[in-house]
């Protein structure tokens, strides 16, 4: 089977990669584009460790064909910081000890960013339901939810 070239924007840069038609966007990002921040936790859309923003919508990249990325804009965890300025979520996750092993963290950061982009002032319940698609086995979610709420507060204050 021959591979097809896909052109898209990843973390602000134009990227071209080759892919088989049945390959997932997850594997293309990891193996062809070299961004290993996205992880395969399950491959079936049940754990969220592969979450990316695809045209501003948070999706599981394991459930997206790489070829669907043609012309799309993709953001991964590697694109959240601005140079050496961390995104407030990255900062609150660090300060609030919202990670232990860290393998679910990229997915949570992307999903939390998607939440705050569409709902800047979520309640605790809204945060929990928005992040229900991301599994964490280490933290019990407590500090992740707090860090997300704290980042929301900081972003609101920055806007004020």
């Amino acid at each position: 089977m021959s591979r097809t070239q896909v052109t898209c924007t990843v973390n602000g840069d134009q990227v071209d990669f080759l892919t088989l038609d049945d390959e997932s966007l997850l594997n293309a990002l990891r193996d062809e584009v070299g961004l290993t921040g996205v992880k395969e936790g399950c491959g079936t859309g049940d754990c969220g460790a592969c979450s990316v923003l695809l045209d501003d919508a948070v999706v599981c990249s394991c459930l997206v064909f790489a070829r669907e990325a043609e012309g799309a804009t993709i953001v991964t965890v590697e694109g959240m910081a601005d140079g050496d300025h961390l995104h407030p979520l990255q900062q609150t996750f660090l300060e609030g000890a919202a990670l232990q092993c860290g393998v679910c963290t990229p997915g949570f950061l992307v999903a939390a960013k998607a939440l705050l982009d569409r709902n800047p002032d979520p309640t605790e319940t809204e945060v929990r339901y928005a992040l229900a698609g991301n599994l964490c086995r280490c933290t019990g979610y407590d500090k992740i939810v707090r860090a997300t709420l704290e980042a929301a507060r900081e972003l609101q204050e920055a806007r004020a």
């Binding site: 097809t4 038609d21 049945d22 997932s24 491959g43 079936t44 859309g45 049940d46 969220g48 979450s51 695809l54 919508a57 948070v58 999706v59 599981c60 394991c62 459930l63 997206v64 064909f65 070829r67 669907e68 043609e70 999903a111 998607a114 939440l115 339901y129 928005a130 229900a132 698609g133 991301n134």
Partner: protein
């Protein structure tokens, strides 16, 4: 497996007719896991999302038209649709996490034909129609006519659903959808219940449609439960009759997600709760 992304309905029909195992997809949220667990790969995968008509939510003079490949997150974000059909939208909104919601679609949920599909009971009680395209042109059927069994639909190999038509509801009408899952999210429904009621001037039920999911190979309408409500107030007594009729109408299997007895019992419980919720939304229940 070849990937293709047509930009028109005709092009998609042509591709679908080009190979016996060609398949259309919107979000692929069922398709990819199924391939991973060993279902054979289709020869051609047809991505419907680049066809404008398939990804849209539009108010018409008589109701709504919803593209079959529209991500369900577009439905939950549409305030007018939520206000008019809260049950339909909450059902669509229960198809998985935020990540899934940005990919799942009414067309995919319907045509995957899982008995536990969340949107289907709500689509059925609201009388949605599906516009189907094929090599002989377009035809329109009730959504209830499409799933024929687990993983099976009445669509011909060259057909796919293009869009859904939803008529404006009469005054004093509202819908609701509830489901039973062991966790609060991320589970396939063990039982689902959709209800729509129209109230008359004195607060009694003028008409009702009730449909159950995950308790039979396809969605089950429950005429006995509906009849128990028509012309009656919606109260504990009539709701108990609804519950009993729904438990009796449920014909579930026993699998790793639920036993027969459990599904039958909970079908009744959820149906009466869904009816009560719809009635409260419509303006009155005691």
């Amino acid at each position: 497996m070849r990937y293709s992304a047509p930009t028109s309905v005709d092009e998609a029909v042509g591709l679908l007719s080009s190979a016996p195992t060609a398949r259309v997809f919107a979000g692929a949220t069922d398709m990819i896991p199924q391939i991973r667990t060993g279902r054979p790969e289709p020869e051609v995968m047809i991505d419907l999302k680049r066809i404008e008509r398939l990804v849209s939510v539009a108010k018409t003079a008589t109701g709504w038209t919803i593209g079959a490949a529209t991500p369900t997150s577009h439905l939950t974000a549409n305030a007018d649709l939520v206000a008019a059909f809260p049950g339909l939208v909450e059902a669509a909104g229960l198809i998985g996490s935020d990540q899934i919601q940005n990919r799942s679609s009414l067309g995919g949920n319907l045509c995957n034909a899982s008995p536990a599909a969340d949107s289907v009971p709500a689509m059925v009680v609201n009388g949605l129609r599906a516009v189907i395209a094929g090599k002989d042109g377009e035809r329109t059927v009730s959504v209830a006519d499409i799933p024929t069994g687990p993983g099976q639909t009445s669509l011909a190999p060259d057909e796919f659903v293009v869009e859904f038509e939803l008529d404006d509801a009469p005054a004093n009408t509202a819908d609701a959808y509830l489901r039973m899952t062991p966790r609060t999210e991320m589970d396939i429904a063990v039982v689902g219940a959709g209800a729509r009621v129209t109230l008359d001037g004195s607060g009694n039920c003028a008409s009702a449609t009730i449909a159950l999911g995950a308790v039979a190979p396809t969605v089950v309408r429950v005429p006995d439960a509906e009849a128990a409500l028509v012309g009656q107030p919606i109260n504990d007594e009539t709701l108990a009759a609804v519950a009993a009729a729904c438990s009796a109408a449920a014909n579930p299997i026993e699998d790793k997600r639920g036993t027969i007895a459990y599904r039958q019992q909970v079908a009744g419980v959820l149906a009466k709760r869904a009816v009560r919720k719809a009635a409260e939304r419509a303006g009155g229940a005691s």
